[in-house]
Amino acid sequence: MTNLNEKKAELINLQRNNSSPTKKDLLIEIQNELNKLSLPHSKTEEWRNTNVNSILNHKYILGKKESVPLKYVNTFSFNEINADRLVLINGHFSDEYSHFNKTSGIQMGSIKKNQKSNSFKKYYGSTNLYKSNFFAAYNSAYAEDGIFIHIPENVIVEHPIHIVNFIYGNNQKTISQAHNLIIAEKNSHAKILTTYHSLSEDFTFNNVATEIICSENSDIEFYVFEGEGDTASIVNNTYVNQLNGSKFLSNTSTLCGSLVRNEIHIDLLGEYCESDLQGIYFPDKEQHIDNYVSIKHSKPNCKSNQLYKGIIDNKAETVFTGKVFVAPDAQKTDAAQSNRNILLTDNSKAHSRPQLEIYADDVRCSHGSTTGQIDKEALFYMKTRGIPELKAKTLLMTAFIGDIIEHITVKPYRDYVNYLVNKKLKGQEPESLCHVKICPACEK
């Protein structure tokens, strides 16, 4: 068994020469927090069903600022939507491959280049992200770069902003960290798409953290696509502060990866906010996908919704934890939660853990969780109409997760997810997913 303290020291040692852009007093606070936090182990409640040994068992090198062959970068661009594209390779911003409209009034680019701006100083490290777990604290203490996006007041961004994340190991065990900051000022609206890809045969670990500030009446759509390879693990922490009247939608599609842990924390700091957190996961082989969602209703009159659905194949295992915390003052809270899983084999596993902590009395909170197999009655019904088993199953499963994919408002991206999901449902290995070879988005 890995000695956790040794491993922790090793991870920290690996990054000790990094210079974090965090201001000094805050950085000290973060480092103190990191000192207190232990790496997750089998007794850590929030990680009970996710064993991080498969991440920790390797000796990594720090991901360098590599140059990825252009054809791979282009694979994951959606030319039709003319998106602003911000590319991170091993957590480093790539000037070469990023292109965006500099005249739109939106400030974007690398954390490194924007750390002198006022909004950076005001907001970087301002959420409780670093208190969430070891990996978030580790990232907050040592990440050097990432994406910075600032959407000014009243600005409505027409095109989606696409953040492309590559981990490029060059066949060495590689660790990569990026710390992103997205600020939506009052009444602004933007769609942000973040996609994760690995280009490595050897083990990689991507430790990502994103802070999102949703100011009054802002509206953010945040899409996450994870299609990393069988040797790539990711811990993806997102922390969102929502102020009065803001709307936040997150929609996550995880189609592969070795070990994937997505944590989304929502701090509802204002009234009349809406948070809608959705996700699909569709692992096979021995993949492990863990979605941890936590919504803190601190103020009255907010609405939150969690809807996660999974199809689990082979020996894959998934975890969904949905936390809803309603503070004593958060009257008229309306919180809904639903997690549904289909197990395709006897060896697949799904853990579903709804956790509701409610201290206000005038609230509406609902939750539901189902895990089962494909509806045999529906399957028989479809077969009696001439539809063969495989096609019937595909139709049923497409329908099962289809409502979540339908929520994606960026059409080329929605088509892309549908294309890959359908390929997977038909039992074809979506090569392009884990080992980039073709451009599914361009095929359309």
Binding site: M382, K383, T384, G402
Partner: protein, 251 residues
Amino acid sequence: MLKIIDLKAEINGKEILKGINLEVKPGEVHAIMGPNGSGKSTLASVLAGRDIFNVTGGKVIFKGKNLLEMEPEERSREGIFLAFQYPVEIPGVSITNFMRAALDEHRIHKGLKPMDAAEFLRYIKEKKALVELDAKLEGRAVNEGFSGGEKKKNEVFQMAMLEPDLAILDETDSGLDIDALKIVANGVNKLKTKENASIVITHYQRLLDYIVPDVVHVLYNGKIVKTGGKELASELENTGYDEIKNDADNQ
């Protein structure tokens, strides 16, 4: 068209069908009546290929082929259609997509090309009119949130779309009011030709006022105990099943 010879079937070791013999010829309408638990729905299920039933003996020949060797989807493509007593809800799959998938399979089986979109829309419209299916239903998910009447109409609509040689209507009248019953029966009658046949399974005579059978069979305790013309149905309406049960039990 269909020949059932000494068919026996069980579920969980319990024998339900104890030797059924039945022959259906093109153009015929057969009614199978009988008290609850006599095996009517089991017979329908076995013919459609539901695998929870275990066939322990006998043969079923459909258009010269061994039906029992075929998968449910093959039976459908060969021309068997089962209208379910309790049509299944399929959330998220629209009737249009569902029928598109089914019809494509049927056409490929017949060596025809799948219809193009325009052709398909024309076809679906024509069939909808035939069975008086509400226009707004087609965009909705199959049977999801449908009333009992809508579900049964949807079954007849699917039957119209797939044009089976042999339709098996399993208690299609159950849960229907008289107006819905008339529409459903009307649809079935319109679909009748000299070449196709149907088996109408029902507990009550009521449906047979609208779908007039050529032959009526009474199923009791896993066997056909009486066969007659359409007048047998009205007889049963007056006497009930008790007399038949007594006769059969005393044999």
